[in-house]
Amino acid sequence: MSIIKTENLTYTYPSGTKPSIRDVSIKIEKGEFVLITGPSGCGKTTLCRCFNGLIPHFYQGELKGEITVAGLRISEQPIYEMAKNVGLVFQNPENQLFALSVEKDVAFGLENLGVPREEMRKRVDWALNLTGIYDIRERAPHELSGGQQQRVAIASVLAMQPEIIVLDEPTSFLDPLGAKKIFEVIYDLNRKLRITVVLVEHRLDLTARYANHIIVMDDGKIALDGDPRKILGSEEARLIGVGIPKPTRLYQILQKDRVSLSNTIPLSSDEMAAMLREALKNQ
């Protein structure tokens, strides 16, 4: 059974004149690393808010269609029940942090779940270390830079070890090397602990390599849904305005020039470099 399943999901915000998402039917399987992308304002964030019940319980408005997450029907579950299964990292970390210290923010969710003290200590330290903020654990989150706040928001969610992690442009304020390290951590948890990851991103150059499932949204609807290589290699994705990773783009262009390259569409520099190496050697 799919861990997230929606059927004809349509949602309109209380002040909205038209639906922000329309007829969304998707299936996400346990252990997948899913990338959701599409033009700005296409409904990505709105869809993510449905995954943990913020829509409709907090935002209200009108929700039609079906959605089940981790076997639970969202409409019948309070948000705190969903929070045990789904961790959500918001786009703007300021909306998520409120405690007096980094450590307390990261521990907050665990305290609420009534996790025993020793276990809590272990998990908080684990999350602080993974995200590289152990040294600033006593600082106040609101004094930190945007990038550091994002690390705290991610640590708070990781500490909960939920079945599903939903991240909405989680590293936008981090420098490239910092962002890369965070994505590696998330990818590692995805593979080792089989945590399902749903990542909203425009920057596919940084993230495409981790995904085994891509969903492209456009104007509130699902435009493309499937295998990353197929989708990012397609003309449709480019026309919708998806930022195709540069190695993939170079591959497409060279293919038009009739350079003979292997049939596997590359998603990263490493893959493209290896492919070119073959082609250059065989000449």
Binding site: E169, L177, H202, L254
Partner: protein
């Protein structure tokens, strides 16, 4: 022209954010300031519109020492778009947000209308003119913040992380817009982590690390120097990464964009075929 001479800056909490920065940015230049989190990038640009004044050293904008004039006077010439749009937006509607500064600067009603329509159009916001900025997505709010600064047509435009939350199309538009500003001899300064964006627009790059400028030069040179980039927590553009890995073939190293990459690869393949 912006001239900084040996600028040191220490925040009230004793963090020394700038440690001797000297630079000159001429009118009409397009500059990207890059570097790791906490390198001092935002602190530096806040000196250009007088939001911060050097602890020691001087900053001159068009020959005027920033300590001698008010932020309000400088703001007329130097527009600054914040990293987080929520630090900037406050009006009830997008339209009011954009018109606010124009009214403050005392523009005539007719000009305000024209500028407003122009900015809304340019940033694809016309359909939201009566919407509250807080109803919009993160990427759209970012565009509202940008529109509100562009509308008053400052001579120097500073954008802190302009590509965050922007999709590919919006980035292309931003690039075209910057080129248009350049053609009008306006100075554009962006603070950014977005290596791929910088590789496409190829500005002069100032690379910062721990309060100092560690590299200053054209994009093609700076972005293809992995040692210096790593120090500043920047990853080379993906195309450059491919070429760095193929350095044992007869290929140049200084390649940052897809079209140059294609040209060089086709040349080599052709030469090999002969």
């Amino acid at each position: 022209m912006i001239e900084a001479k040996n600028v040191y800056f220490t925040y009230p909490n004793d963090v020394e954010a700038l440690k001797g920065v000297s630079l000159t940015i001429k009118n009409g230049e397009f500059v990207a300031i890059m570097g790791e989190n906490g390198a001092g990038k935002t602190t530096l640009v806040k000196h250009f519109n007088g939001l911060l004044k050097p602890t020691t050293g001087t900053v001159h904008i068009d020959g005027v020492n920033t300590t001698k004039v008010s932020v309000a006077t400088l703001a007329r010439n130097v527009g600054f778009v914040f990293q987080n749009p929520d630090h900037q937006l406050f009006s009830e509607t997008v339209e009011e947000e954009i018109a606010f500064a124009l009214k403050n600067f005392g523009f005539k009603e007719k000009i305000i209308k024209r500028r407003l329509t122009w900015a809304l159009n340019l940033l694809d916001l016309t359909k939201y003119r009566k919407t509250s900025p807080f109803m919009l997505s993160g990427g759209e709010r970012k565009r509202v913040a940008l529109a509100s600064v562009l509308a008053w047509n400052p001579k120097i435009l500073m954008l802190d992380e302009p590509t965050i939350g922007q999709d590919y199309r919006q980035k292309e538009k931003l690039l075209q817009f910057i080129l248009q500003m350049k053609a009008q001899r306006k100075t554009v300064i962006i603070v950014t982590h977005d290596v791929e964006f910088v590789a496409e627009c190829s500005p002069r790059i100032l690379l910062m690390r721990k309060g100092r400028i560690v590299a200053d030069g054209e994009a093609r040179k700076v972005l293809t120097n992995p040692e210096i980039l790593t120090q500043a927590s920047i990853v080379p553009p993906q195309i450059t990464q491919i070429f760095l890995q193929l350095s044992d073939f007869q290929l140049p190293k200084e390649v940052i964009d897809v079209y140059k990459a294609r040209e060089k690869l086709l040349n080599l393949l052709e030469a090999k075929a002969k």
